[in-house]
């Protein structure tokens, strides 16, 4: 049975030709940005090796650049930036609470286990 009391939210996203132009401009800007970030990452990886003294700095640069890329993909390409604030929060907050805790606990544990293995052998 078709209900006539439901609101069709899907129509909210429609936009005009002019707005479309603006949006496409934004998309191409993000494309360029993501490509440049990837190229920078590869160049850094190719020239600075893991035994270099600069490596810890490069490693954190990689992680920050990755989070940047991820942010742009989620907010612009997936339009999460255009959704209502609480929809954004409902998606992001539970995820981050869980993941940050998991990263913390797993890496702490791994460093201890690795240390023990290095000390007593496999």
């Amino acid at each position: 049975m078709l209900r006539d009391d439901l609101i069709e939210y899907s129509l909210n996203t429609h936009h005009s030709e002019d707005q479309g132009k603006k949006i496409r401009k934004k998309i191409f800007f993000v494309t360029l940005l993501l490509t440049v970030i990837t190229a920078v990452e590869v160049l850094l990886g190719a020239f600075i090796h893991q035994n270099s003294s600069l490596w810890p700095f490069v490693k954190w640069t990689f992680i920050i650049l990755t989070l940047f890329k991820a942010g742009y993909i989620v907010m612009i390409f997936m339009h999460l930036g255009d959704e209502k604030k609480w929809m954004r929060n409902v998606i992001l907050i539970p995820y981050f609470i869980f993941v940050l805790y998991l990263i913390f606990i797993a890496l702490c544990e791994a460093l201890k286990v690795g240390g023990a293995l290095a000390l007593y052998g496999n």
């Binding site: 899907s10 996203t13 494309t31 490509t35 893991q50 993909i73 929809m87």
Partner: protein, 397 residues
């Protein structure tokens, strides 16, 4: 996107009918699914991080492992993976353009960009197939176990094998035959079985040793003069071992190979260049994290171990049990994480094709909106998002 955030008073908002997020049910559920899928991938990547931290410096480094390009060979660290990343980013862009065209009810635009996305997806899948094949087959050198029990990965340029010259006939090849086909494959197979030796005299020596040991093991009780016999055999054995060690301590020049049919052949091979051994498992002499072994010493150690007559001294490529790049779990994580992601890409392409057919048939145009394209777009961007993280944590770091 224009009037997304319609302001509603809280009675209308929570009294049913309205969605507090001003979003359709389908889109919201797609987001919830993506959150759960994101948790799965996060779990996998964190498990990878855990294992890697416990293994510490024995873990392979991306730029050492992935440095090949199709048609170009070795020496292009991470370039191929960067190309794959670029392909996926571009296909993500074409997808978002399809969604944008949908918002303008531009059916032709949606079809055009969706087809571009599908093609990009197939390109990515093809690249991944190449990468898997390359990972599974491995390098010409493989990973070698050295005499002190340490394991090292080998870098450098493998000198081409030109031919095998048969010096002792077997079941198939005649004396004096020159074999010119399938050389690398036969060489690697023999190396795995321990059928490569320094010279023919080593083979004879080892055969003599085996015979002597067999004689020693025979039941000699009650035989006249057994004790004297055993002493003589023992002397013979130690002499043979001494001779063996003498031959083994000489510089390696060119080896002989025992082929599949039992024939023995000389190996004609060009010299390797820039050989370098990087220890990935500590032994009594070489430790993980130590300086790489280079130059003549590397050649000596590599071929010394390859030609010492024992099986399983060298590992080529990768499977679920062992791999030439590092610890066993490295291969397993590679197959599981990139495989699971590749499976997502594959299903994404299939879903895109189905939705694209729907667009062509006009299903969504009749509905008055292209939200289905938006939903499949969400899934496709998510696949791109996962790859961004896999690229960083598996390949770069």
């Amino acid at each position: 996107m224009a009037e997304h955030a319609v302001i509603l008073d809280s009675k209308t908002l929570w009294g049913g009918k309205e969605s507090p997020f001003s979003t359709s049910y389908g889109k919201l559920m797609m987001w919830f699914f993506l959150v759960s899928d994101a948790l799965t991938f996060t779990g996998l990547l964190i498990a990878y991080g855990y294992t890697r931290h416990t293994a510490q410096s024995a873990w392979p480094i991306g730029e050492e492992t992935f440095n090949s390009m199709p048609f170009l060979g070795h020496g292009y660290p991470l370039l191929y993976v960067a190309l794959m990343t670029f392909i996926l980013i571009v296909s993500s862009v074409t997808m978002v353009l399809a969604v944008e065209a949908g918002h303008r009810m531009d059916k032709k635009g949606v079809i055009k960009w969706m087809i571009a996305t599908i093609i990009g997806g197939f390109f990515f899948l093809g690249s991944q197939a190449w990468e898997w094949s390359h990972f599974i087959h491995g390098s010409e050198f493989g990973k070698i176990e050295l005499a002190d029990g340490s394991q090292a990965i080998v870098k450098g340029h493998f000198g081409e094998i030109e031919s095998f010259e048969v010096i002792k006939a077997g079941g198939h090849h005649k004396n004096g035959d020159v074999i010119k086909t399938d050389l690398l494959h036969q060489f690697q197979h023999a190396a795995e079985k321990g059928s490569i030796y320094r010279s023919e005299s080593v083979i004879n020596n080892l055969n003599d040793q085996k015979k002597t040991i067999a004689q020693l093991n025979m039941d000699t009780t009650g035989v006249k003069g057994a004790a004297a016999n055993i002493i003589a055999l023992n002397n013979k054995l130690s002499l043979l071992k001494k001779q063996f060690n003498e031959i083994q301590s000489k510089p390696y020049t060119r080896g002989v190979i025992v082929l599949h049919d039992g024939s023995i052949a000389k190996i004609n091979k060009k010299a390797d260049e820039h050989l370098m051994l990087i220890t990935k498992k500590s032994g009594s002499k070489f430790k993980v994290g130590g300086e790489p072994i280079e130059g003549k010493k590397a050649t000596e150690l590599y071929y010394g171990s390859l030609s010492d007559g024992y099986a399983n001294k060298v590992v080529y490529g990768a499977n679920l049990k062992q791999n030439e790049y590092g610890p066993q779990q490295y291969g397993q994580f590679f197959f599981f994480i990139t495989g699971f992601h590749g499976f997502h890409v594959f299903s994404g392409v299939i879903i895109n094709i189905i939705i694209c057919i729907g667009v062509v048939l006009g299903t969504y145009h009749k509905r008055g909106h292209y939200e289905m394209v938006e939903k499949t777009g969400l899934y496709w961007h998510f696949v791109d998002l996962v790859w961004v993280f896999v690229f960083t944590f598996f390949y770069l770091i």
